[in-house]
């Protein structure tokens, strides 16, 4: 039995029909065509599907779409403003924070949540915060460096 889900995605109010069992990640990818949110493990382990729900990182594969009724969702597509990469995205490019890029949308959104609470995270803090995001390419060192560089960059620009 389809129900109507209404929420705000990347600043835009959206409505779509979903089933009770539809997962948020499928509503975003199949319903709204936002395929930057990746499905990696589908067992709540890898974090590739991470999005921001009301500013806080969450795994969109571990949420029924209807749980997000009325919420503000940010996906990776919502970070870059007017064709300009977000400072976190820029830092990942500059510090080689990705190789294949599959995990990157989730890593960046988890980092956005972390940096909104702690703009100057230590190495240990970054690693603890990213525990729910698996990367099989980089060995994490460059990801940690990218997140810290992004924190520094965000301190220089006014919050968007």
């Amino acid at each position: 039995m389809p129900e109507v889900l209404t929420f705000v995605v990347n600043g835009e109010r959206r409505s779509l029909e979903v089933e009770g069992r539809t997962l948020l990640v499928h509503a975003l990818r199949d319903g709204l065509g936002l395929t930057g949110t990746h499905i990696g493990c589908d067992t709540s382990q890898c974090g590739a599907c991470t999005v921001l729900i009301d500013g806080r990182a969450a795994k969109s594969c571990t949420l029924l779409a209807l749980q997000a009724e009325g919420a503000e969702i940010t996906t990776i597509e919502g970070l870059a403003a007017g064709g300009e990469l977000h400072p976190i995205q820029r830092a990942f490019v500059e510090h080689h924070g990705l190789q294949c890029g599959f995990c990157t949308p989730g890593v960046i959104l988890t980092a956005a949540d972390l940096l909104s609470r702690d703009p100057v995270p230590t190495d240990e803090t970054v690693r603890h915060a990213l525990r729910g995001n698996l990367c099989r390419c980089t060995g994490y060192q460059t990801i940690v460096e990218s997140v810290q560089a992004a924190g520094a960059a965000l301190r220089e620009v006014p919050a968007s």
Binding site: R21, Q45, A57, K59, T62
Partner: protein, 267 residues
């Protein structure tokens, strides 16, 4: 993986939630960090999920020397709760920091975790050591259960199908008490192979274990290693029973040492 077909209802208040839960095969959905994964595996196939996450059952506060934690408080909210900044309560935040990952802590709730009753979940050990109780509400009545009587088996509790947790209570440890939580985790799942919480103070010491048996449990008084030698311990391919027993004694000792040290510190 997609859950089996299920109806979804959003509860607007507690009475509404209890009325919805009276339907056959209804299941309460809080943060969903335990329930959704098992629904995706189709291990659990409710006919109706009742989303209780919008009920006003959030936050931690101290009233009359009792810490009240509302069951829909997320792990993240607990980490930010000033009510936990007390000498004898350090084990709670220490435990929360190690639960799941940042995304899970943002959504997962303490009440959902307790009601799910995973035998390896961390927080039950801490709440047992601190002597916590839960308050359950049904359409007919409200009742209080000591947490020590709440866990009946793996994923099985004394909560009735039409009951919801409405409060978790922890008596404040008396002055000069300290508490700690120490675990050894499975490196992939993050669940405890063995976890121990300890409370040490003028009134004595208590140690509770998780991850080693059918439910989290309080150790009988006495030397932890001797008490652990006498209890039934689960084994699996990751951690055979004898290894788990060894780990349990190690984490119990470490938790006790940390709790005793904290009992002597001023905060």
């Amino acid at each position: 993986m997609i859950p089996a077909a299920v109806r979804y209802a959003r509860a607007t208040d507690l009475d509404h939630a209890l009325a919805l839960l009276a339907a056959p095969d209804a299941k309460a959905l809080a943060g969903g960090q335990s329930l959704i994964p098992v629904m995706k595996l189709r291990v659990v196939r409710p006919a109706l999920v009742v989303d209780i996450s919008r009920l006003e059952l959030r936050g931690a506060e101290i009233r009359d020397d009792v810490l009240h934690i509302a069951p829909l408080t997320t792990w993240r909210e607990l980490l930010d709760a000033s009510a936990l900044e007390r000498q004898g309560l350090a084990a709670i935040a220490e435990c929360v920091r190690g639960i799941g990952d940042a995304q899970v802590r943002n959504r997962g709730t303490i009440g959902g975790s307790i009601a799910h009753a995973d035998p390896a979940s961390d927080m039950p050990a801490v709440l047992l050591a601190l002597g916590a109780s839960v308050v359950a509400r049904s359409p007919e009545e409200s009742r209080t259960l000591a947490l020590a009587d709440f866990f009946l088996g793996p994923f099985t509790t004394g909560l009735g199908p039409h009951e919801l947790l409405v409060d978790l209570t922890v008596p404040l440890p008396e002055a000069g008490s300290g508490s700690a939580y120490v675990s050894v985790e499975h490196p992939a799942s993050g669940f405890a192979l063995a976890g121990a919480a300890a409370l040490s103070g003028p009134a004595g010491e208590r140690v509770a274990l998780t991850g080693v048996g059918a439910t989290p449990f309080l150790l009988p008084a006495g030397e932890p290693s001797e008490a652990i030698a006498a209890v039934e311990v689960y084994g699996d391919s990751f951690a055979p029973a004898e290894y788990r027993r060894h780990l349990a004694a190690v984490v119990a000792e470490r938790a006790l040492e940390a709790a005793r040290r904290r009992a002597k510190e001023d905060v």
